[in-house]
C-alpha cells in the first residue's frame, strides 16, 4: 500500500440537514446564469453584424464618392489630347 492514494476518503462525515441545503436553493441564480449564457452571444452577434453593416455602408459611400469624382474628372483628361490635335 505504498502507492499514492487515488481518493480522499472521509469516514462517517455528518450529513447536512434539510435546512442547510434549503439555504443553497436559488432558482433565480440558475435562471440569470442561463440568461447570461444564452443571451450574451446573441447580443454580441447582433452588434457584430451591425458593425459589419456599418463598415460595408461606409465602404460603399466611399466607393460611390470616389466613382463620382472619377466620373467628374475623366472627361477633362480624355478631352485634352483631342483639343491639342485640333
Amino acid at each position: 500500500m505504498s502507492e499514492e492514494k487515488k481518493y480522499n476518503i472521509n469516514v462517517n462525515r455528518a450529513e447536512p440537514d434539510k435546512q442547510d441545503i434549503k439555504k443553497y436553493e436559488n432558482f433565480n441564480n440558475v435562471i440569470s446564469k442561463h440568461k447570461a449564457v444564452t443571451k450574451r452571444p446573441n447580443y454580441r452577434r447582433k452588434r457584430t453584424y451591425f458593425i459589419l453593416l456599418l463598415i460595408l455602408l461606409l465602404a460603399y459611400v466611399v466607393y460611390l464618392s470616389e466613382k463620382e469624382e472619377k466620373e467628374k474628372g475623366l472627361p477633362q483628361t480624355e478631352q485634352t489630347p483631342v483639343n491639342i490635335d485640333r
Partner: protein, 190 residues
C-alpha cells in the same frame, strides 16, 4: 372561447408537462428545481469535500439541465436519472479541471454492508483494509459502490443513471464484490 381560455390558463401538473413547457419558458422549471434540488445536492455533496463546492456544482448541474432541456426526450426512465447523469458528468469535469483527488464519503455501517454482501465476516481490521482497497479501484467501480451501498440505490436506479440495463448493473456490482473479496483475502493472507 371561454373554455379555450381556461384550458390555456390551467396550471400544469405533471412533470412531463412542466418539462415540455420549460423548453420554451424557463420559469416553468422552478417546481422541478425545487423538487430535485435537495437530492441532487446530496448526490453531489457525497462526492465533494465542502458544501460550497457542492453548491457550485449543483447550480451548474441545473444550468446544464436547462441548457440541454430542448434535447431531452422522455424515454420512460425518470427525468431525475437524466439530471443525475448530468451531475455525474459535472463532478467528473470538476475533478478533471481542478486536478484534485476525488472525495469519497463512507460510513462504517455501509462498509459492514459491503463486507456482508461479499460473504466475509466483519472485523475492524477488515474494515480498515476495505477502506484502503477503495483506493485501488477505478472511478466506475467506486461509483457503483457509492450508489449501491453508500446511497442505497436500487439496481433499477443505478441502471437508469448509468444508462445501462438493470441486469448489467447487477452483474457489475456482483463482479465488483468478487474482486473486493479476492483483494481482501489476499491482503489478509499477506
Amino acid at each position: 372561447m371561454l373554455s379555450v381560455f381556461k384550458k390555456n390558463n390551467r396550471t400544469p401538473h405533471t412533470e412531463q408537462e412542466l418539462i415540455e413547457l420549460s423548453k420554451t419558458d424557463k420559469r416553468y422549471f422552478a417546481p422541478i428545481y425545487e423538487r430535485y434540488h435537495e437530492q441532487i445536492f446530496r448526490f453531489v455533496y457525497k462526492r465533494m469535500s465542502s458544501m460550497d463546492e457542492a453548491n457550485d456544482i449543483t447550480s451548474q448541474v441545473f444550468l446544464k439541465t436547462l441548457l440541454n432541456l430542448p434535447k431531452y426526450k422522455h424515454t420512460g426512465a425518470p427525468f431525475v436519472s437524466w439530471v443525475y447523469r448530468i451531475a455525474l458528468n459535472e463532478v467528473n469535469q470538476y475533478y478533471r479541471d481542478k486536478k484534485k483527488k476525488r472525495t469519497i464519503n463512507i460510513n462504517d455501517f455501509d462498509i459492514k454492508h459491503i463486507i456482508k454482501d461479499a460473504e466475509m465476516t466483519h472485523d475492524y481490521q477488515l474494515q480498515d483494509k476495505m477502506i484502503e482497497t477503495l483506493n485501488e479501484l477505478d472511478e466506475i467501480k467506486v461509483l457503483l459502490l457509492e450508489m449501491r451501498y453508500f446511497e442505497k440505490r436500487s439496481f433499477k436506479e443505478i441502471a437508469s443513471i448509468l444508462n445501462i440495463t438493470e441486469s448489467n448493473a447487477k452483474v457489475k456490482v456482483y463482479r465488483l464484490l468478487e474482486e473486493l473479496k479476492k483483494k481482501l483475502s489476499t491482503s489478509q493472507n499477506v
